[in-house]
């Protein structure tokens, strides 16, 4: 096995182990920290695929934004005392059966498909190319995305403020 393959399997094992922790952990805060491991692993896998800018975005937005927001929500919705009831899980056996069936189906498709692989691109910095794409061919989705974020911002403020009845 080449060193690259070893690195890939190490990163994949770390990501899958953390995701397993997210799925089965009995404490919601442990789940959140396991989710951080998964997000870091996926960011490293993006860099492995030559997507350096995307890896940085994953770190900034997911680990620095969404995960911290989730931790705030956990702290705001749980009393520190009741740790043992915070992450109830029900119906594990049927859910495991459904998940296993979906997984078997996906693996069968992945192993039977005739994958056509082109020559892969050399690993070059992607930031400039992504910036040109956003202000060129992808300008309309880019602007719509800013509108979506504005609407989500206003919506989050309206939903989470205290309602004052006159």
């Amino acid at each position: 096995m080449s060193p690259t393959t070893v690195v890939f399997y190490l990163l994949a094992a770390f990501t899958v182990a953390s995701a397993f922790g997210v799925a089965v952990s009995t404490h919601i805060v442990y789940s959140a920290f396991a989710l951080m491991g998964t997000l870091l692993g996926v960011a490293a896998l993006y860099v492995f695929l030559g997507a350096d800018f995307l890896g940085a975005i994953q770190l900034l937005v997911y680990v620095g934004g969404i995960l911290v927001l989730s931790l705030f929500a956990i702290m705001l919705t749980h009393r520190i005392a009741d740790v043992h009831v915070s992450n109830r899980a029900v119906g594990r056996v049927p859910a495991a059966v459904v998940a296993l069936l979906v997984f078997v189906g996906l693996v069968r498709v992945a192993s039977r498909a005739a994958w056509v692989v082109w020559d892969r691109q050399a690993l070059v910095p992607t930031t400039a190319a992504i910036g040109h794409a956003f202000l060129g061919r992808w300008l309309l989705p880019f602007e719509v995305a800013s509108l979506v974020l504005l609407v989500a911002l206003i919506g989050a403020v309206v939903l989470s403020r205290k309602e004052v009845r006159p």
Binding site: L49, I66, N87, V116, L159
Partner: protein, 103 residues
């Protein structure tokens, strides 16, 4: 370049997707369900980026993943605001206990 085939990436994202699905199906804590959704979204973007990398599609796969991350941020903000609103009126975020539509 290396011995990692495209199938390894597809199966890796399938594992992440299935773990997220399991998390969404079993959790009764609304925040746990949102974490499962994040896992599913990560699996999908990883799949898209890996396939674009192996098919020489330029940067389009990475742009897709950036849009997915942007939508996940919007979804997390709205979802967590809704969870906080539910907590204010029900004093719990267990999705089995929150079955009244009228507040």
């Amino acid at each position: 370049m290396d011995g990692v085939g495209v199938q390894s990436w597809v199966i890796l994202s399938a594992i992440l997707f299935v773990l997220g699905l399991f998390c969404v199906l079993t959790r009764r804590n609304a925040l746990g369900i949102l974490m499962g959704i994040e896992l599913v979204l990560n699996a999908a973007s990883l799949n898209v980026v890996a396939l674009a990398h192996y098919a020489s599609l330029g940067r389009d796969g990475q742009l897709f993943a950036i849009f997915v991350i942007m939508l996940a941020a919007a979804e997390a903000a709205i979802g967590l605001a809704i969870v906080l609103g539910i907590y204010q009126s029900f004093e719990t975020i267990d999705v089995d206990a929150t079955d009244r539509l009228r507040g």
